[in-house]
Symmetry: C2
Subunit: 87 residues, 2 copies
């Protein structure tokens, strides 16, 4: 595997797993006030497009990384969207 | 431009611009409690690797999108890291 391939896989692993600590923290604290709704709406839409892009290219690393990131981001978005009902 | 290229650019535009509303909200409210430190540490490291990956591949869309995303994520991370001094 080339250095650039290795870097790409490490980058994908980091940017995808990054959402795990947020998905652990948010359900535990149920605090989403400091989290921007606009950010999670735009980010989830963008990651969904990356996922479709991966499918069109039949590129499994893109499909897998963005599929997992999308699920994690949607959990945070779901908590943010129901915030007003909890306050 | 092919459909997949168009999708890729739209996806990059969304996932990069997603951080703008967070970078607007955080300095205004100075509230970062609901934001996961681990998320922004992992995410910033990952985006930095994507940026180096783009440089190795001389791929300008990857360099630009991740360069901008890194700067935006570092602003949020900076506020999160100084949170305890503000509480």
């Amino acid at each position: 595997m080339s250095l650039s391939d290795l870097l790409g896989y490490a980058a994908a692993l980091l940017t995808t797993s990054a959402f795990v600590p947020q998905v652990v923290q948010t359900p535990r604290t149920r605090d989403t006030r400091a989290i921007s709704l606009g950010m999670y709406l735009l980010f989830s839409a963008g990651v969904a497009l990356w996922w479709i892009y991966g499918i069109l290219l039949a590129a499994w690393p893109i499909i897998l990384a963005n599929g997992i990131t999308l699920l994690l981001a949607l959990v945070v978005l779901g908590y943010k969207l129901t915030e007003s009902q909890r306050l």
